[in-house]
């Protein structure tokens, strides 16, 4: 190989060359000071990153990862709570002697309960929709 190997020097360090290619790169480099210097600098750059330690996740990481934030929940929960309260209010006007849990409200409650997280965001920490809503005058 007569011309400088360039990025093949990285391939050499990474064991990515065929035996023939490696022989050619080594032959050139042994006689070329410029490439010897470049090989040293590249090798140092490589070693610096390879020597980096693993990074320990911060406190609470696993808990946060295992309770994923659904982006839609932050917006949707407020609407669900408002909708649930409104539905129960309407039911009270229509049938004052009964206290049925309409399927619509039950669905909203289930959806809210399923999506509620303990991530600490202010919406999730509001009174859950499952709490009794008083509609007595």
């Amino acid at each position: 190989m007569s011309s400088h190997p360039g990025d093949l020097l990285s391939a050499l360090l990474d064991g990515e060359l065929t035996p023939a290619e490696e022989a050619g790169v080594r032959a050139h480099t042994s006689a070329c000071e410029q490439c010897q210097r470049e090989l040293r600098l590249i090798g140092e750059g490589r070693t610096l990153v390879r020597d980096l330690p693993a990074v320990d996740p911060p406190f609470g990481f696993y808990e946060r990862m295992l309770r994923p934030r659904h982006r839609w929940a932050r917006v949707g929960v407020a609407a669900l709570v408002a909708g649930a309260a409104a539905s129960v209010g309407l039911m009270a006007v229509a049938t004052p002697r009964e206290a049925p849990v309409s399927p619509h409200v039950a669905q909203l409650v289930d959806a809210h309960t399923a999506s509620a997280s303990t991530s600490g965001d202010p919406i999730s920490e509001m009174t859950p929709a499952a709490a009794p809503v008083s509609f007595r005058p």
Binding site: D7, E16, E38, L41, L48, P57, F61
Partner: protein, 168 residues
């Protein structure tokens, strides 16, 4: 559905969380973005577990992580933000007389900061090679680029990193 004995995404989070966080932190350089990236990776893992073929879990995960990282980079580029980092004051001055020898104590934080100075594509290639340990072929597969491009990005990334760390 994933077969019996196949990991759930929660299994992946617990047993590979530290690995994922390390890769994410090396790519993004800060804890908040690293956590967001891991969250995004786990979301993609949940969707992709059905199709996961048993093999190198870390290889599969780093592929997802890097692509999620580059997707986010592209997304942020479309918003007007100040992308140019300030010139850091920690760049070691070249020692006179020494042939650009590295100062004795180069801390991991210094290396991380230098990594952040690289173009995102270069950083991704260097992290996959030198942090995760993937082969050029695996990196090419992960990023959808030819092996020659992988080699070039790694090489230039290492050269720039070395240059940044000594001001050479």
């Amino acid at each position: 559905m994933a077969g019996e004995g196949a990991p759930t995404w929660e299994d992946v989070a617990r047993s590979h969380g530290r690995f994922l966080y390390t890769v994410a932190y090396r790519l993004t350089g800060n804890r908040e973005d690293a956590e967001d990236l891991v969250q995004e990776v786990l979301l993609r893992v949940r969707r992709g577990l059905e199709t996961y073929q048993p093999g190198s879990m870390e290889g599969w995960l780093s592929r997802i992580a890097t692509n999620a990282f580059l997707d986010e980079v592209r997304r942020r580029r479309r918003r007007p933000v100040d992308l140019l980092p300030e010139e850091p004051d920690w760049v070691l001055p070249p020692t006179e007389g020494a042939d650009e020898a590295l100062a004795a104590a180069v801390l991991p934080d210094d290396v991380q900061a230098a990594l952040l100075r690289l173009p995102d594509d270069f950083r991704a290639a260097v992290v996959l090679c030198d942090v995760v340990g993937l082969s050029y072929h695996e990196i090419g597969d992960a990023l959808g680029i030819p092996v020659g491009t992988v080699r070039s990005r790694i090489h230039r990334g290492r050269a720039q990193l070395r240059e940044v760390l000594t001001g050479a």
